[in-house]
Symmetry: none
Subunit: 225 residues, 4 copies
DNA sequence: CATGAATGAGCGTTCATTCAT
DNA sequence: CATGAATGAACGCTCATTCAT
């Protein structure tokens, strides 16, 4: 009953945090439950992106999901647990698409495919992505989920390896590639850009331009800056 | 909405005009007022970065600022107005430093100087920057402030022009440069990186790499791999 | 601004206990405040004794007191703090009367006077006394208040000393005297007895009978029971 | 209030009759039922004394009893019914022991034996006793249960009669004896006293001292001291 | 009968905002 | 103007109870 994660909470403590692990109380195994959980997360996503964090209350989520507030709390011990589950779901979906994209190509080609996926994902629900990023920073995530963020990076690391980047540099560069893409894609979403075809090549330019510059710095015997 | 007598509204306007009366938007000019406003914004910044948005309440801000909650509402009509003013102040400070940096060089050199300034700013108060970015997206800013973001972009546009970027492309590329830098610098702040010297060249690589790639795309018949 | 009391909370932690000391947030120094605090405690007492603990909610107390729920929380950080303050007030009132009674006599006479006071107090608000006793057992009281219970006992100890009880035995016997009286008086209250004149001699019989038996046991050279 | 078809209400009555149909008040007679009811009451007692009234919820009781919440409501129409049944059970157990004790002696000897039993009972589960006492005062008990309290008193009445107390006074004095003992024994439990041998003589002193004083009052022309 | 998901009134508490002093 | 007591809508969350399976 006490699968306490060894991670000590870092800081501000979700207001009503009990000692309970904040995992879903009930694993949604039955069809009924899955439907309910899905409805709750859909409602949470909808409210967050259509009305913003200030309208994101558990009562509002429950109402929009068409369930009672009591039911929501049968599946999630706290509001933050709902948020975490939503982050988890979106992260998994993105990661699945990234995996699929990267599995069909190698090196730069695979990286380009990942960029396309990232652009596509973000432009479909631009606000949601930004908000969840922000919440994620505030939330103590589970280990396996914190790792999920690294999973995406590992895909990039592999691509970089195939492109000849030394493994010592690959991890840092993969992180930079992610932050570059995220920065551009977030801004596009914020400005309501919806033209993937226009955004994609610019992200590619930034990513590949960055990698090229870095390889120039790293491997001497090459010309001017 | 404001129970104010319609009489002497001719002059100094202690309260932020809620209705968009476009005349005097400047903050209170008396010495006392400036001190109070500064104290409030300092308190707001401190609370946001040290305890996070959940601790950011008007009462807490007033208390830390050493003024009564009533006084706070003399200078700011709403909580969001405080946040907006803080964003404005930080933006102005950043813009001032950017202007200064860019005034002493040209082209790529000036751009590099701006990058240095941006990195420096963000790494000094990483959480505050992120939080204010987020709030800014949520808040309806005054027109002249929305323009302030564009002011920084204009500095970049000028650099790009000096670097030979066609003016038709410069605006978009300047925006991309900002988002690239912001993406990298935010992530660094989130990860508590504090080494400016390590971060700066990577941001430069991303920015200049992006620009090089874009110039290649725009002006064909000039490639090198 | 942080007058944190050095008393560490002992045990079960009122549900939403924050780290704040649960003392009144605002010492009621102004006339207005005293009136408000008094109204709140009166309301709390009334609800507890007329409708029982299940109806004793902060909202109900505030409503009956004629103040807003927000005001209640200006003066008391938690619901338990209200309860504690009520206990404190009632205890002080009882203790004051006991002190006064005991000051005018000595030995057995003083003890008899205390019994009269205790009977009088309990029969006036029989349910309230019982409920507060119960709550007191559940609540982590402040040191100086936990001591208040002992203050009453000390009055009895003094009487016993004057009656010739050895000081080694006096503390225990004083405690027993209190529990004997409390048991009888509580039961009378529960059964809605209102005749003080009928109850008083029976309590006296129990108290003095107990003391006589104890002195017989303690001092040998006296016959069988 | 009860959605039951009016048909076969002739026989075994699995649910506690909510309306005061006075026919079969006994608890379920089938083996399964008895086991379940016992488990529920055990769970209720355990939770009350180990975690207190605030943790005493129907869901918690059902879980600890190893039955579903639905089953609990098959046997008890409300939460209060569970509490009442627990009080009833504990009262019966105490009464049984008291009866047994009193059956082997007469007069003062029997009374002493009852005191021993009462002390023993309370010191074994001190919190539970106190909590149930409190709940009992709050709950509308069944008539035959309210009588159960009187049953114990009747045992004392008999002892007093054997000791020569006039039957006109015996009932009141028996009640006082009970409240004296309960007051002392409750307080001992509250203070975590566990030494029965130390408590017993003090209770005896109080009880017999009280009776002696009362007899002196009632029958004048017999004093000493 | 047993089950346990579902319900929703209601709890304790917060905080942006107002206004009498 | 400054103050800070007062307000109350709204929040996160619980739990006694019901009812479809």
């Amino acid at each position: 009953m006490s699968h306490r994660s060894p991670s000590l909470l870092a800081f501000p403590m979700p207001k009503h945090a009990r000692d309970a692990s904040s995992q879903p109380r009930k694993k949604p195994l039955q069809a009924r439950s899955i439907v309910t959980v899905t409805a709750i997360l859909d409602a949470a996503a909808h409210i967050l992106e259509s009305a913003g964090p200030s309208a994101y209350s558990t009562n509002a989520v429950a109402e929009r999901a068409g369930v009672s507030i009591g039911s929501l709390y049968q599946y999630f011990p706290t509001k933050d647990a709902v948020t975490r589950a939503l982050i988890e779901r979106e992260s998994r979906a993105l990661f699945a698409d990234l995996s699929h994209a990267v599995s069909k190509a190698h090196g730069a080609e695979a990286l380009r495919a990942m960029i396309a996926v990232a652009v596509h994902h973000q432009l479909r629900r631009p606000l949601l992505g930004r908000i969840l990023d922000f919440e994620e920073a505030r939330l103590p995530m589970h280990h396996d989920m914190a790792a999920a963020g690294n999973d995406a990076r590992d895909l990039i690391v592999r691509c970089l390896g195939e492109m000849g980047v030394e493994s010592g540099d690959a991890v840092q560069q993969a992180g930079d590639v992610m932050s570059i893409a995220r920065g551009m894609v977030d801004r596009a979403g914020q400005r309501s850009e919806i033209d993937e075809a226009a955004l994609r090549p610019r992200v590619e330019a930034a990513v590949f331009g960055y990698l090229r510059e870095m390889s120039r710095i790293r491997s001497p015997g090459d010309e001017r800056n």
